[in-house]
């Protein structure tokens, strides 16, 4: 062996994007207490999202939704050994500074909370901690990556238990990537203009056929089959928010969604884990939500 006298670089793009690579094929679960975080970890979550209210409750209770109490985040970090994520409001870089100081492993600049800035998102390059951001289409995803996001999640419509918007957003993103692949070099300049994203990034996606960061999906996933649907549509993993702890048997449902995410292409496994799960979250049809109540429209 030899001993090294190295210099170390923290917070590099590779280190930030790399953690998301390690989460692939996994399920990230919303939790509002340390006890729920423990249940999520035991059920096989790859990470937990610490927040004060799940999106279904934010929706039901209304009011301004903000970053969680640091005490709650500390308790959850203390309780589990898997990565802990937490949400900051869109554009609220001070909430993000606080979350970084609390040593969360990933910050979600999230449309689920009330935006703090209706023009600018957070300049995520300024941070050592990595960020995940939501997107409804490829242009939005590339703008977030330009701002420094190290992971993208399609938005779906959080807190509904209705998977239709998640389906729409992941299909839109993957469809737009496929469309880029068939374009010639000169067409990519116009594509970049239309996507409102930097040409270099657009060209990279056209060449590789994928985003330069991991793409998870979120917003309305409530059953093992929902999770497997997202994986078959090309997601690298899933976020499950209200779907677990608003259901009849959270521990069993959480474990079932984990299994269905790994064996997403095996219908016999999905059938087996879907048995006897009890009540799924009641849910709201997205079509019944008046436009101002759709969270996915926050962020631009």
């Amino acid at each position: 062996m030899s001993t090294n006298t190295e210099t170390t670089e923290p917070g590099t793009t590779r280190v930030k994007r790399g953690l998301a690579e390690m989460l692939k094929g996994g399920v990230i679960m919303d939790v509002v207490t340390a006890e729920q975080a423990r249940i999520a970890e035991d059920a096989g979550a790859v990470a937990v999202m610490a927040l004060e209210r799940v999106p279904a409750d934010i929706r039901a209770q209304g009011g301004v939704a903000r970053m969680s109490d640091p005490d709650l985040i500390d308790q959850i970090i203390e309780t589990v050994s898997i990565p802990v994520m937490a949400k900051a409001r869109i554009g609220h870089f001070v909430e993000a500074q606080v979350l970084e100081a609390l040593k969360v492993d990933y910050i979600d600049e999230s449309e689920v909370l009330s935006p703090a800035d209706y023009v600018n998102h957070i300049d995520k390059w300024n941070f050592t901690v990595p960020f995940v951001c939501g997107a409804t289409n490829l242009g939005e995803a590339l703008r977030r990556i330009t701002e420094g996001a190290a992971m993208i999640r399609s938005k779906g419509e959080a807190g509904t238990g209705d998977v239709s918007e998640a389906t729409k957003h992941i299909r839109t993103i993957t469809g737009e990537i496929n469309a880029l692949r068939s374009k010639t070099k000169d067409e990519l300049y116009v594509a970049a203009k239309e996507l409102q994203a930097p040409y270099e990034l657009v060209r990279e996606v056209a060449e590789t056929g994928k985003l330069p960061v991991v793409l998870f999906t979120a917003g309305g996933v409530a059953t093992p089959a929902d999770a497997a649907l997202m994986m078959q549509l090309g997601a690298d993993g899933v976020f499950v928010g209200s779907g677990i702890f608003k259901s009849g048997n959270p521990a069993q449902r959480a474990a079932a969604i984990v299994k269905a995410t790994t064996f997403y292409d095996d219908a016999s496994v999905i059938a087996e884990v879907s048995r006897g799960l009890g009540e799924a979250m009641v849910g709201i049809n997205v079509a019944d939500l008046a436009a101002p109540h759709r969270l996915a429209e926050r962020g631009w």
Binding site: N4, T7, P10, V15, E21, E41, I82, F263
Partner: protein, 198 residues
């Protein structure tokens, strides 16, 4: 020459499976994801990727992979574990979640997530004699370290503070870091040479 390519698996329960498959394929191996016992039977070596060790452990037990994996290790099949994969191959893990098990095989004590939170994850260059020049650019992401090793274990690399980050014992190879995401293929070449000679 697809017929003569070496069949090598990547345990595909969770983690950065795709990156390992890409490196192994680029090196000419017949790289395949492995989730089931019959898929394990068809390969001559196995990579356990980076990811969440507690999740891999749980899924390997739930889907009947634990015993076949342990048997393959006992039979001398070459394994290479990166990060979570190193944890899976270690006989003893510290700071595990309650009830977490490893496959074992490497006579080492490993500490999970030894560097702390993600803000403490880092990149660095490591001089690793068995790999040769130039130094290996190593990426540590919520990485484990090896705290102690048995007599039969070769230490391949350590950090400046002597913390052990790469080990080898017989057919088993483990690194705390992730060569699969840097474009440096030398660790995978070293692993494939072990598979060929096994």
């Amino acid at each position: 020459m697809a017929g003569s390519a070496l069949p090598v698996g990547v345990l595909a329960l969770q983690g950065d499976v795709r990156e390992h498959l890409a490196v192994l394929s680029d090196l000419g191996a017949d790289a395949r994801p492995v989730r089931r016992p019959e898929e394990l039977d068809a390969v001559r070596g196995l990579v356990i990727p980076g990811g969440e060790s507690s999740v891999m452990d749980k899924l390997s037990r739930l889907f009947g992979m634990r015993e076949p994996l342990r048997q393959a290790i006992a039979d001398g099949m070459p394994f290479y574990g990166t990060c979570a994969g190193l944890i899976m191959l270690s006989d003893t893990v510290l700071d595990a979640i309650e009830g977490q098990q490893t496959l074992g095989g490497l006579d080492v004590v490993v500490r999970r997530n030894a560097f702390g939170a993600q803000v403490d994850s880092f990149e660095t260059d490591l001089d690793i004699p068995v790999i040769g020049d130039p130094p290996v650019h190593a990426v540590f992401i919520r990485a484990p370290v090896v705290e102690s090793v048995g007599a039969a274990v070769d230490v391949l690399a350590a950090l400046g503070d002597d913390r052990i980050v790469a080990v080898e014992q017989g057919a088993l190879l483990g690194t705390s870091f992730h060569p699969e995401i840097t474009g440096d293929t030398r660790f995978h070449e070293y692993f494939l040479s072990k598979v060929r000679s096994a």
